[in-house]
Symmetry: D2
């Protein structure tokens, strides 16, 4: 599991006085850096392989400016060429948002999804959790 | 159905050379302004009522800078206090992303969801589509 | 002069209830698309030439969600390899922000600024205004 | 002086392959949290006092995804009701951007700038640096 501490920014709030819902996908993406590194160790865009095909987020509780947030990121099911990322966001001990993201292992040259190689599969397995 | 034309911005692209996936929730939210006006005609934040509880997006095709995008937004199922928004995003005639957003009719004073009043229900019905 | 109409988004507001100041550089950049096209007619990133070296913005009046904004963009002084962009933002007839941006004509291959060619100079001249 | 470590996000890059210039104002704003706390210790928006009137940024060197950034923030000249913030951004030991931001001590109730109280002046002085 990956843990990412995020400090909310004024620019991430909205007129309702708390964090805007479109900020959460940004934070969840930030929490996936460790996964991106498994697919593209140098994080270079020309070698980038992990491409998102679905995101799903439950908004459970309002998130406020002025207090850090923890994002927990782990791997769920791993298929042939795709895999599921699971994520939870806490602030002040409360679960505030929960999401999944489905990624495929994409080859930019052929522009096709490819089977996930065994070496990457092993690393994903290390970050996998049943629930 | 609401139609919103959006011009992609350089700042909305990412290092892969196309629109970053976290931009799509921003554009879909922009496409819901007509719905926000049904709940809060003056769009003032202190009277705001439509609060998101879930977002789900399928990313189907890459979206590019340099060509306008159309966002189509309509109403799906309407429940007692919640309702479903459906949305599709096209660029150059291709469906590039498709999503749903679940909102509740939220009372900021009591901090509770409330039944959707009939007058609002009638307006939502006007923008409802079976599929 | 280029005119760009921008519809403010909920995600661009902040907890103070109006548009966050970090949104203005995004809108001003959006207003420069016509200038980017002069340097890179196909707007492709691999041929991109206009690179910003300075931005300066005066924030004059609060900007609100719920009403369109007009961004006016024109060319000021044109130097050997650099040029000045001037911009103003109005909402409801009021000047709300005013800025300048300095760009250079940058060659990505040599990674150096280059003199602005005469053909581009002519097009910039067309959008130049004394003040 | 305030030091803020920021981890660049994929969503903050653009098609050129590095951090988009509109991200820098967001990071500089994040670096000012310590200053916002001096004016509004609970960081609540209804008591917010520090309002920006000018931002000026020099873009010196490209900033990349994949390596942390340090933002240094300090106080320059303090006037009667306004003050100057100075900021520098480094990545991998290189100065990449440098900026100033002018703020006023704003009273939301009267909607007027007010003299900066002595207690706040003393705290600003603590973070002041000649150059």
């Amino acid at each position: 599991m990956f843990t990412t501490i995020i400090r909310p920014r004024v620019s991430e709030t909205d007129g309702m006085g708390h964090i805007n819902n479109t900020t959460i996908p940004v934070w969840f993406e930030a929490g996936r850096e460790g996964i991106f590194r498994i697919f593209t160790p140098d994080l270079s865009f020309k070698n980038w392989k992990a491409v998102m095909v679905n995101m799903n987020i439950d908004f459970i509780k309002e998130i406020y400016y002025g207090m850090d947030v923890e994002v927990y990121t782990w791997i769920g099911k791993v298929g042939n060429s795709s895999f599921l990322v699971k994520e939870e966001l806490y602030q002040d001990g409360h679960l505030c948002a929960r999401g999944t993201a489905t990624y495929v292992n994409f080859n930019q040259a052929t522009r096709k999804a490819e089977p996930i190689p065994q070496s990457i599969r092993d690393q994903l397995e290390f970050h996998r959790r049943e629930e």
